[in-house]
Symmetry: C2
Subunit: 262 residues, 2 copies
């Protein structure tokens, strides 16, 4: 299988750097093909702007969606964007690996999403009607592909527990796992999260690699998070609220997961 | 009063651009002093990296926290970072204004947070013991200052409602309002959110300005979101989970708000 690893840490000699090397080796040893997008090493341009379309009129009012749509349709996207899209097309699975900074992904990775997720590619796809609100949330260009987060966090696991002060990790990651991965169609696997990342000695690193290795071995058979598909009858369209008979009385992120595990 | 407006949109001739001008004018007309950080116009460097410390050893292993701590203590931070910190010290209130892109802030603004929020400035502050887990979540360098988000979203309000497919807007914004604003001590006001932002004609724009203007007039008297302070007895330290007698049976982001409005 083909796996794309999107990696966002500035220091190769870090826990994240070691994990990145481990992931590539483990997957390649299992016979897979791996492409790496090492965003810091690539000096990835983080800020979405008008230059992302190489042929737009200099004095035109810049509309981010429209500019993205036109560039994607006309083949005038900035080359770095088109290359990443090709990697996504090639991939059967995508892993996003990053340290949790201020409860989200690093800016450089957020900028990868904003620029690579073009209109017509990751959103603005498919029929848009009162029965079908675009191919998204379970449908879309990434349908049939799998995705997984590998995340390091400085805080303790209890700080990210259901009553922990930072909020539950599943909720912190929901805008990414549901809003960025499931949205264009990825089957999103449960995340692999490492807490207290600054306290990792060799023994702990071995144990982490063992657990992560198992997760990588199971990449094709593990059950995805059962997010509810948008266009399969569980949501009223165009309001896009859960139908009253679906998860009655539930609200919030958890209501969009078919088996509420909390 | 002194107000810092952090603004992240690439096009001045946009709804966000117009709102930015309105905010400045409204506040100045009320006798306040406004500083603007127009991140796109400033060509703000989004990616946190080793260069953020101007005097680090070129071959040293880069540890983001340690590098930030040393640069902050020794006064060797990159100048753009130090300037923004000075603006934060000067401000009585901070407004973050941005379009919601992929359910979070634009990368350029995330990179402002990551780089300006230095160790010793926005985190790693205060006593760290079994009774007091650092000055954070209600304490810290921004204590006594107010903050508010002004956010535009393309989707409908119902899509962001308690059972809406994107998840409730309060939960989507929690990692920002609680994790980025309340964390270093800001009193965080309820957000001002504009939905279906691409459908804004002149009549609607006038109405938005009226509502937003009222919110700006009330900046000093509005009640902040009643997030629970970390070190005031409601959390077990160091686990940092809510004590069993606080919001019993509740979990998730909403449990950290003293008056659960849902």
């Amino acid at each position: 299988m083909n796996i794309l690893l999107i990696y966002a840490h500035p220091e190769p000699r870090s826990l994240n750097g070691s994990l990145k090397s481990f992931i590539i080796k483990r997957l390649e040893n299992a016979g897979h093909f791996v492409q790496l997008s090492d965003l810091y090493a690539m000096k990835w341009k983080a800020a979405l702007d008008a230059d992302d379309n190489t042929e737009r009129q200099a004095d035109a009012r810049f509309d981010p969606s429209l500019n993205s749509k036109q560039a994607f349709e006309q083949g005038t996207q900035s080359k770095d964007i088109a290359l990443e899209q090709d990697k996504l097309r090639w991939a059967n699975a995508v892993i996003l690996q990053f340290p949790l900074w201020w409860f989200s992904m690093p800016a450089i990775l957020k900028g990868w999403v904003e620029r690579v997720y073009a209109y017509g590619f990751a959103y603005g796809v498919g029929e848009h009607s009162d029965a079908h609100w675009g191919d998204r949330y379970g449908e879309g260009m990434m349908a049939g592909k799998r995705a997984m987060l590998v995340v390091t966090a400085g805080g303790w696991e209890s700080h990210y527990s259901p009553r922990g002060i930072n909020g539950p990790i599943d909720d912190i990651l929901f805008p990414i796992q549901h809003g960025i991965l499931y949205y264009p169609g990825f089957d999103t696997l449960p995340p692999f999260v490492i807490y207290r990342s600054s306290r990792t000695d060799e023994i702990r690193f071995s144990r982490i690699c063992e657990e992560l290795g198992q997760r990588l071995d199971d990449l094709w058979k593990a059950a995805p998070i059962p997010f509810r598909p948008q266009n399969a009858g569980e949501y009223d369209i165009p309001r896009l609220t859960l139908r009253s008979d679906v998860a009655p009385g539930q609200y919030g992120f958890g209501a969009h997961v078919a088996l509420n595990q909390l």
